[in-house]
């Protein structure tokens, strides 16, 4: 039987290496559930207020903010798509 930890590890690191949390600020009402649930204390709400991608070197891309947001403001976006957008 494959070691569960080992099979999960690559996909997690893949997400970590290739994804950001991206807000759709028009849906946000600044309730702060994202910030409250971030396990490492990133002020996600502030990024959304400033209409910025959540680019924080400490972000684990754990998805806690994405899942907890009651208004579907946050989503993961791959870096390559994000770069295309910036051009």
């Amino acid at each position: 039987m494959p070691d569960k930890k080992n099979t999960l590890a690559p996909s997690r690191s893949e997400i970590l290496a290739s994804g950001y949390v991206v807000p759709e600020s028009t849906r946000c009402v600044q309730c702060g559930i994202c910030t409250f649930n971030c396990p490492i204390g990133i002020d996600v709400r502030r990024y959304v207020w400033l209409e910025k991608h959540v680019i924080d070197s400490y972000c684990l891309t754990c998805g806690e903010c994405v899942n907890r947001c009651p208004r579907g403001v946050l989503r993961f976006e791959r870096i390559n798509l994000f770069r295309e957008r910036e051009q």
């Binding site: 759709e24 600020s25 028009t26 849906r27 946000c28 009402v29 600044q30 309730c31 702060g32 559930i33 910030t35 409250f36 709400r45 207020w49 009651p70 208004r71 579907g72 403001v73």
Partner: protein, 439 residues
């Protein structure tokens, strides 16, 4: 040095202050509010009520943010506006002179007008103070009655149910939010509420609230039923706070009338947020939106104009994301029945345009909690409602707000058995690919 005075400290007021500061480092900005709690997320109160958020989390600005914005805050009530003299009278201090003034006074909950409505524990969900009072009361109450429609009433129902209170939800009509939702959608919400232990009472209105020692003890309905309860929570509508403007002779209707630059009929007086009734050049109507994002955008446009930078507020298609019976729901544009079964047609968290009924055909399909309904005009999608799965939300927002010509798939969408979601997704992906190729 220009002196800007902003009345109200909700999102429109703060957004205006940010906009002024972004173009003028030295202007004096004074914010006047009589809310002791200042700037916090009002829509967040619903999540504070359910216990998903602690109170402290509702505050959006840190001390550092306030320091950077560099505004003076005055805890006072504005009692009179003298537009010709450019002065604002306050309750406890001398009148304030201003160069430009913004009225961002928001709304207040419409009161219930039945005998007993002034009893203790008849409650509203308007301010942080109200939410605190409800949270205090749920510790001593086993049963509550909630009256109203729309999203605010539902937030009260869900908030109270989260604290194990037996909730009786009174609906004026035969189903929940019948001027906006279709039958399938209403019943989906009602079924989920019932599953959580909420008793939904269609076609029910309060005739009288009964009290004991000054506090709510029961309600008697028009239909003749008496239900014992320790609390009545009310969300029957919202009224823009126009009194200051009205008494000063500014042009008002349901809200304070403003043009595209958020200026009222008085020189140097602007209005924004829930209180602003904005002229929309596309429809020729003057519309109220009681939504967070339009309030922020209006505040921004007002602030820029106050600071002398020309900015036009372009009213966008009204979008809101709601949680209805625990199901995430996005409403985009006009999707209503055109009927109006509530005494006040608008409340916080909604837009007047949702209820309008343009010349459209509704198509819908779904299964379980995933529902999709589209309102099709001759060539465009004029409105959409999406419940549950939200993948289509962004595409739909773009298709509706961009008034994208959907002629290539319109016939397929109208076909009774067609998979609307798949058709739309495919159409949108092709459209995005085409755009990229053109670029």
């Amino acid at each position: 040095m220009t002196r800007h005075v902003i009345v109200g400290m909700g999102v429109a007021g703060v957004s205006a202050a940010e906009a002024i500061r972004s173009v003028d480092r030295s202007a004096e900005i004074l914010m006047v509010t009589n809310d002791p709690n200042g700037f916090y997320s009002r829509p967040g109160l619903a999540y504070y009520l359910t216990g998903e958020l602690p109170e402290q989390q509702l505050y959006i600005y840190s001390k550092e943010d306030w320091r950077r914005l560099n505004v003076k805050q005055l805890k006072a009530k504005a009692v009179r506006l003298l537009p010709m003299e450019h002065k604002l009278a306050l309750d406890h201090s001398s009148p304030l002179a201003y160069d430009r003034l913004l009225l961002a006074t928001g709304t207040t909950a419409a009161p219930l007008s039945v005998p007993g409505a002034d009893l203790k524990n008849v409650m509203y969900l308007d301010h942080l103070e109200d939410t605190r009072a409800i949270l205090d009361r749920v510790r001593y109450t086993r049963t509550a009655v909630v009256v109203g429609g729309g999203v605010l009433a539902l937030e009260l129902v869900e908030g109270l149910a989260a604290h194990k209170v037996q909730v009786h939800f009174f609906l004026r009509g035969d189903r929940y939010w019948s001027n906006l939702l279709d039958e399938v959608e209403s019943h989906l919400v009602e079924d989920r509420l019932e599953h959580e232990g909420v008793r939904v009472h269609p076609n029910t209105e309060i005739a009288e609230i009964l009290g004991s020692r000054g506090s709510v003890s029961a309600v008697r309905t028009v239909q003749g039923e008496t239900i014992g309860c320790g609390m009545v929570a009310v969300a029957i509508g919202a009224r823009p706070r126009i009194e200051l403007a009205q008494a000063a002779g500014l042009e008002v209707e349901r809200g304070i009338l403003v043009n595209e630059t958020m200026q009222t009929s008085a020189p140097d007086v602007f209005a924004a947020g829930d209180v602003g009734q904005v002229y929309d050049p596309l429809t020729g109507r003057k519309t109220l939106d009681m939504l967070w994002n339009p309030a922020r955008e209006q505040g921004r446009a007002a602030g820029l104009n106050m600071a002398g930078s020309a900015a036009v507020y372009r009213r966008l298609v009204a979008v809101n994301v709601l949680r209805l019976g625990g199901v995430m729901t996005t409403i985009i544009g006009a999707i209503g029945s055109g009927k109006d079964d509530s005494p006040l047609s608008i409340m916080r968290g909604s837009s007047e345009t949702w209820q309008q009924l343009p010349n459209t055909i509704a198509v819908a399909n779904g299964g379980g909690v995933n529902q999709l309904r589209l309102l099709l005009g001759e060539r465009t999608i004029t409105g959409a409602l999406l419940m549950g799965e939200q993948t289509l939300s962004l595409p739909l927002q773009e298709l509706v707000s961009g008034q994208v010509d959907i002629t290539p798939i319109r016939q397929q969408l109208l076909h009774p058995d067609s998979p609307l979601g798949e058709l739309l997704m495919e159409f949108w992906l092709n459209l995005s690919a085409d755009r990229k190729n053109v670029a």
